[in-house]
């Protein structure tokens, strides 16, 4: 193949081959009109435009990957990761791990009876109250819990509000669930308080109506007493459970769930403390009102300026 040199530049030459193709090549001391046979042709290094769809596809894939990571991590953080633990203590000891939604993510038997209680049971994905009701039913069916028995919930929650909400919820629901069936004592304890056993007086509720008839089978000698329970208390700084005997209501420390009267069908009354908390909110609202007032003053200034413009 021969080439005619058509044009010479400092950094390249333009050649014409015998097939009518024009080329840029290294200018190896060429002169215009010269015929050459062995040029060093320039390569096509232009960045070829990526097809729009391929580029779009890459962007979509990258965005999808980011979203997957983001929502995946959010999902894990919200739904899978353990956020609160509730230790159900009858005599079987069971740890119930909850996610941020209050749904059960894991169940552990903390002792042999606990493992027996959980055998064949899958409470994952269910609400804590549902699981608590079902485990109590299983405990009754398996003879772990009977009339006069005690159920303790030790709640290990990251903040007071969650402990309080969960405690009220459990107490209310279980009372209703067992209404007319058996009489038990429900105990709710915050595992994170540093109260000594003498100081802490966890709430006690008699979760029963005046009726004492039981629907669940009872087996003799299976009533669990507090002595047995206190041996396996989970968590730190836990208050040892009180006696199972129904006791008059005791004063509730501020960190405890509100006291319950449980006089009528196991319903839980809200204590005054709750209303006190609401007062704090009122104060916050008042501050907001002040801020609004400040805004009004600012608005007034604007009006003044408008008048000046006129």
């Amino acid at each position: 193949m021969t080439y005619i040199v058509l044009e010479c530049h400092s950094s390249y030459a333009v050649l014409l081959d015998e097939e009518g193709r024009f080329w840029k090549a290294a200018n190896l001391q060429y002169s215009v009109g010269q015929t050459v046979t062995d040029p060093f042709l320039m390569r096509e290094t232009r960045e070829k435009p990526t097809p729009v769809m391929r580029r779009l596809g890459a962007v979509v894939m990258a965005a999808a990957a980011c979203l997957l990571v983001f929502f995946g991590s959010r999902y894990y953080y919200t739904n899978v990761q353990s956020y609160t633990s509730i230790y159900l203590s009858i005599n079987p000891e069971v740890q119930i791990e909850l996610n941020r939604q209050g749904e059960v993510v894991r169940l552990h038997g903390e002792n042999a009876d606990g493992e027996a209680l959980l055998a064949g049971y899958d409470g994952r994905g269910k609400d804590k109250v549902t699981v608590a009701d079902e485990l109590i039913d299983r405990a009754i069916d398996m003879g772990f819990l009977s009339d006069g028995g005690e159920v303790s919930f030790y709640i290990d929650a990251p903040d007071e509000a969650i402990f309080r909400d969960y405690g009220v919820e459990l107490r209310t629901a279980i009372t209703e669930h067992l209404d007319g069936r058996i009489t038990i004592v429900i105990e709710i304890t915050n595992t994170r308080t540093s109260e000594t056993p003498s100081d802490s007086t966890p709430d006690q509720t008699t979760a029963a109506s005046a009726q004492s008839t039981t629907n669940a089978p009872q087996s003799a000698g299976t009533q669990n007493q507090t002595a047995a329970q206190s041996q396996d208390e989970p968590g730190q700084n836990t208050s040892p459970p009180q006696t199972a005997a129904p006791a008059p209501e005791t004063q509730t420390p501020a960190t405890q769930p509100p006291q319950t009267a449980a006089q009528t069908g196991g319903r839980t009354d809200y204590g005054d403390d709750d209303w006190d908390d609401n007062d704090d909110d009122d104060d916050a609202n008042d501050e907001n009102d002040d801020w609004d007032d400040d805004n009004d003053d600012w608005n007034d200034d604007d009006d003044d300026r408008e008048e000046d413009d006129d």
Binding site: Q29, T37, F40
Partner: protein, 241 residues
């Protein structure tokens, strides 16, 4: 950072204009020589070392092939220069012991072909070259009237066989229909619709290689016998012997 931005502006300007490209190359000639020297392990000699010409061509390639995604321009250019020098070196090794007939004698500044030829042949070849040069100059000027440069045509020329054949078909159709050529010379515009419909080539293909078609049609008007003789196979649609 400021220097890098300046270079980027100059590179972008050089992509659009041959003059700007030449200015940029001249400005960075010391850089190009330095990169060549790294390869040769000695300073290159202008007018003598082909490697310097290769490096200059590679720098030109870098200007047109550069985008910010490739990183710093000078680093990219250095990489390309080295790459091309290696290619050249390998090619020369293949042909080692074989002297190019076009190679110029350093003292006489004549190519080997010219040295080997008889005085009569030399005079004829000299005249031929001069005639060729004049034809090329005329073609270049006429192409300017159409807003096309030889460099543009080289950039716009189809490289794939299929596309080249499509352009040849269009040329052949125009050649057979003189009214189209007259219209082309008069309006200084390509009759793309007529060429596409008549030759069967896709209009989009012809549009994409418009500048090349302008050069091809002009070469096949009167006055460019030498150049036309060089590409004698084009109209016939066959490959060069």
């Amino acid at each position: 950072m400021h220097l890098e931005n300046d270079i980027l502006h100059e590179v972008e300007a050089a992509k659009e204009s041959d003059r700007a490209a030449d200015r940029l190359i001249q400005a960075y000639l010391p850089f190009i020589k330095a990169e060549t020297a790294k390869f040769l392990r000695r300073p290159p000699i202008e007018g003598q070392d082909d490697e310097l010409s290769i490096a200059l061509m590679a720098f030109h390639e870098a200007i047109h092939g550069y985008s910010r995604l490739r990183g710093a321009f000078l680093r990219y250019a250095a990489m390309l220069i080295r790459s091309r020098l290696i290619d050249y070196s390998r090619r020369e090794k293949k042909h080692s012991g074989v002297l190019s007939i076009d190679a110029k004698d350093r003292e006489e500044e004549q190519s080997l072909a010219e040295t080997l030829s008889s005085p009569e042949d030399f005079a004829e070849s000299g005249a031929l070259r001069e005639a060729t040069r004049q034809e090329i100059e005329e073609l270049r000027q006429q192409m300017e009237d159409f807003g096309v440069s030889l460099s543009d045509v080289a950039d716009n020329c189809p490289k794939q066989r299929r596309t080249l054949d499509a352009c040849r078909k269009a040329l052949s159709y125009a050649h057979d229909h003189s009214e189209l050529m007259e219209e082309f010379l008069r309006t200084k515009r390509l009759p793309l619709t007529a060429l596409s419909e008549g030759s069967g080539a896709e209009r989009k293909t012809l549009e994409r290689h418009r500048k090349y078609l302008v050069a091809l049609l002009l070469i096949h008007t009167n006055g460019y016998e030498i150049i036309r003789g060089h590409i004698k196979q084009v109209l016939k649609g066959g490959e060069a012997q």
